[in-house]
């Protein structure tokens, strides 16, 4: 089953100082749902405005593709290590 990344590990180290964070992305899902409910009237207006321009067909496809991109983010890793700095981002 496709699901968006649930955790994100971020590590940043500068000149002597650094920090590491485990971002619990799954906690954002209820917030995203709440934001979607709040913004739904605006979304509805936008759909009605763009209805004649042919976006009604494309909009659901765009949402599906965007969700697929979000789900595909799982496993992404960026690791940059310099002498005095280090950046590490990983989505699980």
């Amino acid at each position: 089953m496709k699901r968006p990344p649930m955790l994100m590990h971020v590590k940043i180290r500068g000149e002597g100082r650094g920090f590491g964070l485990w971002l619990r992305l799954f906690l954002l899902l209820p917030l995203a749902l709440a934001a979607f409910i709040i913004l739904s009237p605006l979304i509805l207006i936008a759909i009605l405005v763009f209805w004649p321009s042919g976006w009604r067909k494309r909009a659901p496809l765009i949402f599906t593709a965007a969700f697929e991109v979000l789900c595909s983010m799982r496993g992404i890793k960026v690791d940059v290590q310099g002498n005095h700095h280090c950046i590490y981002i990983s989505a699980v």
Binding site: R58, L61, I62, A65, E68, V69, C71, S72, M73, R74, G75, I76, K77, V78, D79, V80, Q81, G82, N83, H84
Partner: protein, 147 residues
């Protein structure tokens, strides 16, 4: 495939071909069939196996000692590339023309409209064999590969 075999047997029954010829034709058909079956399976297996696109950059020893170069290690899931490529088919025609124009300005003669889903699959399948290994004069290396 079965139809071809039946046709060979019919030709043998009608004495149009000898038993030797029929045997040769049937063996040829069998080997063709196994090759045709083997290729997509192997391709699918490779596709299933390759999960990430890796980019590794290691600076040369002098640059590393001087603190100039950074070690970069990026892992991109192949599914993300696939999902990203799907987005190109959702681009509105006006945006596609703009992209084509920008590519042409850079000397890349490529039409985004020609990129079809079947081409994407083929492209991603070909990516599983990709391996780029660049070694610079100062000892820096850039590696791009699929694992």
């Amino acid at each position: 495939m079965a139809e071809n075999k039946k046709r060979v047997l019919e030709m043998l029954a009608q004495n149009k071909i000898s038993t030797d010829e029929a045997y040769r034709l049937l063996s040829a058909l069998e080997s063709e069939g196994s090759a045709a079956e083997g290729t997509p399976k192997a391709g699918t297996a490779a596709r299933m196996k390759s999960k990430y696109l890796r980019v590794c950059i290691v600076p040369g020893p002098e640059h590393e000692r001087g603190g100039k170069g950074d070690r970069v290690n990026v892992r991109v899931p192949m599914t993300l590339i696939r999902a990203g490529m799907k987005f190109t088919s959702l681009l509105p025609p006006e945006a596609r023309d703009k992209v084509n124009g920008a590519l042409r300005e850079k000397g890349i003669d490529f039409d985004m409209r020609n990129l079809k889903p079947e081409d994407m699959d083929e492209l991603l399948e070909a990516l599983s064999d990709l391996e780029v290994d660049v070694a610079g004069t100062d000892g820096e290396t850039v590696k791009v590969f699929v694992e």
